[in-house]
């Protein structure tokens, strides 16, 4: 769920950009260092970024009939770790704005905050938190992807509520309004994305051990 270009008032657009910027800069520094250490990291990251974009452009089978796409937030957080995802996610969002007209340049900061920062961190925390209490991998993956998705959507609703507080009930009322509008589509999508990520991770676990190890190695302590 991308906030469209021009939807946020200028002050909010600028504020979200300012909030996201440090995360993205930190991530960019980190990625730059990784790329300098190992030339092949650049190719691996580019392939991962392009993959993430293509994944987000695949139409999701939807129960509600609306046209929707996976966010890949959970998968990305599990595979690359949130500190790399901030930059990769920003690049993907930039391409979505420029190649698909999803989202926009002035709303990039707000979208980055929900999709490339909060979503991945929540997914990452859930994944490792549940693994730490010995949950089965499938459950961890499912919860990470689903809650990462829901967190993204909750943050987006919050951003909208802050921009358009309800004249009577204020920001709180507006948040409930926006959350309620998008809930019927986002909840089933989050569940589907959770299931989808489980299938994907299962497959990767079965036949891509080497590649995943290489990736983990290339990204160093990113995880």
């Amino acid at each position: 769920m991308h906030i469209a270009e021009g939807f946020l008032p200028p002050l909010h657009a600028a504020a979200w950009t300012a909030i996201s910027l440090p995360f993205v800069i930190f991530s960019a520094r980190r990625v730059t260092r990784l790329m300098q250490d190992q030339p092949q990291t650049k190719l691996l990251l580019a392939a991962s970024g392009a993959f993430a974009f293509v994944l987000s452009a695949l139409k999701l089978p939807s129960v509600t009939g609306s046209c929707s796409h996976p966010t890949g937030t959970g998968l990305g957080a599990i595979l690359f770790g949130p500190s790399v995802m901030a930059l990769l996610g920003t690049i993907v969002l930039l391409f979505q704005a420029l190649l698909l007209a999803h989202g926009g340049l002035t709303t990039l900061g707000a979208n980055v905050f929900s999709m490339a920062i909060v979503g991945p961190w929540v997914a990452y925390a859930v994944f490792h938190g549940t693994l730490a209490i010995n949950a089965p991998l499938a459950i961890s993956v499912f919860l990470a992807a689903m809650l990462g998705d829901l967190a993204t959507y909750a943050v987006t609703a919050g951003e909208l509520a802050l921009a358009f507080p309800d004249p009577v009930s204020g920001v709180g009322g507006a948040f409930i309004k926006f959350a309620a509008v998008y809930l019927p589509t986002q909840l089933p999508l989050a569940v589907i994305e959770g299931l989808l990520t489980v299938v994907t991770v299962n497959l990767l676990k079965q036949y891509s051990r080497n590649e995943l190890d290489n990736l983990a190695f290339a990204l160093g302590g990113a995880k």
Partner: protein, 245 residues
């Protein structure tokens, strides 16, 4: 995606210096955000669309279809700006006139802003942005990463499309549970192939002396100052008109 990218590479203004498109478009975008939407919005929308269709020679149908992309988002969200939620005695929904005004303003502003963005994306291929990205201080490594992502997107998108067609031929999307499973498998195999592609590209580029930098010749466009001034004047006039009307 293919349509936007295709026009970006083939429109009448393809060979103009990217700044000549970027500066006016961004200025207009800033104006639509800064000025009262109901005044500047329609003017900006008309101006950007005119430039896209008459100037760059993009078919009107394509320009409109790009505008339609965020329409779904607007349709779902905007009506709720006009309705307010009250919590006294339980909760109830009420129509609010100032909310309606806000909803209208927001829609107009968003549509106008999207038209500015779509002008930019329909006339300027992503590859042309790179010198500008460098100039605003983005490190060379990140810019190279962005360009490489751009190239690989098309390689992988083709595979994703064909893979999906192959799964459909085997009835992989005939029910919701099957669709989820199929898409999960497709995602996994695409990721696996993406990593393999990265490895083979490493070998292919090493044969050409790759050692970490992806330096290539930058596209050469001559900046036409008269053109730029002219375009900025037009944008300024639109802004003034929006301000005074």
């Amino acid at each position: 995606m293919q349509a936007i990218d295709h026009h970006a590479w083939t429109n009448h203004w393809r060979d103009r210096h990217p700044l000549e498109k970027l500066l006016p478009a961004l200025s207009l975008l800033v104006l639509t955000l800064a000025l009262p939407p109901l005044k500047i919005g329609p003017l900006a929308l008309a101006g950007a669309t005119l430039a896209t269709v008459c100037g760059a020679g993009i078919p009107l149908k394509t320009a409109l279809s790009v505008l339609a992309a965020p329409a779904a988002f607007l349709l779902a969200g905007v009506p709720f700006l006009a309705i307010s939620l009250r919590f006294n005695d339980g909760f109830s929904l009420h129509f609010s006139p100032e909310g309606l005004q806000l909803a209208l303003e927001t829609s107009v502003r968003a549509l106008a802003a999207v038209s500015c963005l779509s002008f930019l994306t329909l006339t300027t291929p992503l590859a042309d942005w790179t010198p500008l990205l460098r100039r605003v201080g983005i490190p060379a490594g990140i810019v190279e990463l962005i360009l490489l992502v751009y190239r690989l997107i098309f390689v992988f998108a083709e595979r994703a499309l064909t893979g999906r067609q192959a799964q459909t031929a085997r009835l992989g999307y005939s029910r919701l549970d099957r669709s989820v499973r199929s898409l999960g498998l497709l995602t996994g195999s695409l990721f696996q192939r993406s990593l393999e592609q990265a490895r083979r590209l490493e070998i292919g580029l090493a044969a050409r002396g790759y050692s970490g930098d992806l330096r290539v010749l930058q596209p050469e466009h001559v900046l036409s100052w008269p053109w730029l001034l002219w375009a900025m004047t037009l944008v300024g006039l639109v802004g003034l008109a929006g301000y005074w009307i």
